[in-house]
Symmetry: C2
Subunit: 139 residues, 2 copies
């Protein structure tokens, strides 16, 4: 599971810079060529959604600054907001220590969730009552 | 990909409550029985790490309030901080709209990353220079 490309950067006495294209080749894509992506609101730091990208989607997102995912249900590239207008403008992107996940901060236009809710993580667990609270939809 | 259990809660005119145990059975675990978990600092909202849980890990996390993941490299349950002392105390948990990801807010003791850095997403991309900036390790 551990990739030596990332392993060698764990202990550093001074900052270094890696080439982006070389790093993209080293990410821990799964057997379908996909890597998990966490999308966070750059302003209020809320987690908006969780999705997947392939290498091309990462490259298109960086080039266009428009969040572009791989839709596993439609099996194709998916520019977020292409039909709804609820685009996400990329503000920052980071990889984690072992190169198996991506964190993107974005400016969100409209609602992030296709249900009309502001974010996708609306199924909130009441840890004491062992219940899942689901809020009404604004649509 | 869409699960009718979650689909039917997309459009709601009033809030509802779901049974937690029933919902846990409906989550979109992958072929290895795992679901992605995003761990966020409950105080400063920083994304600390990304990992995986199976159903048992979710149940243990809820029961103990100590974040318990499934280690894919060691192929076993992994109580975060069990050896390092850098435990994560669960403050809130939520599922996303289609039940294929979990968001947990935690109180982090010590550093979240095994490299000693405060969080795992320290490989920061310079979108203009097409470089990845890696900060030094505190260890």
């Amino acid at each position: 599971m551990l990739n030596s490309y990332f392993k060698k950067n764990e202990a550093l006495s001074a900052p270094i810079q890696l080439d982006l294209n070389t790093t993209l080749l080293q990410l821990a894509y799964n057997e379908a060529g996909l890597i998990p992506v966490i999308t966070q609101d750059a302003t209020n730091k809320r987690i908006l959604m969780f999705a997947w990208m392939n290498k091309q989607a990462i490259e298109l997102t960086i080039a266009s600054k428009k969040m572009t995912y791989w839709s596993r249900s439609r099996n194709k590239l998916w520019i977020k907001g292409e039909t709804s207008g609820h685009v996400q403008t990329l503000k920052s992107m980071a990889f984690d220590c072992d190169g198996d996940a991506i964190l993107c901060e974005v400016d969100q236009t409209g609602s992030a969730c296709h249900t009309g809710r502001e974010h996708c993580f609306y199924l909130d667990i009441d840890l004491d009552k062992k219940q899942v609270n689901v809020p009404p939809s604004p649509l």
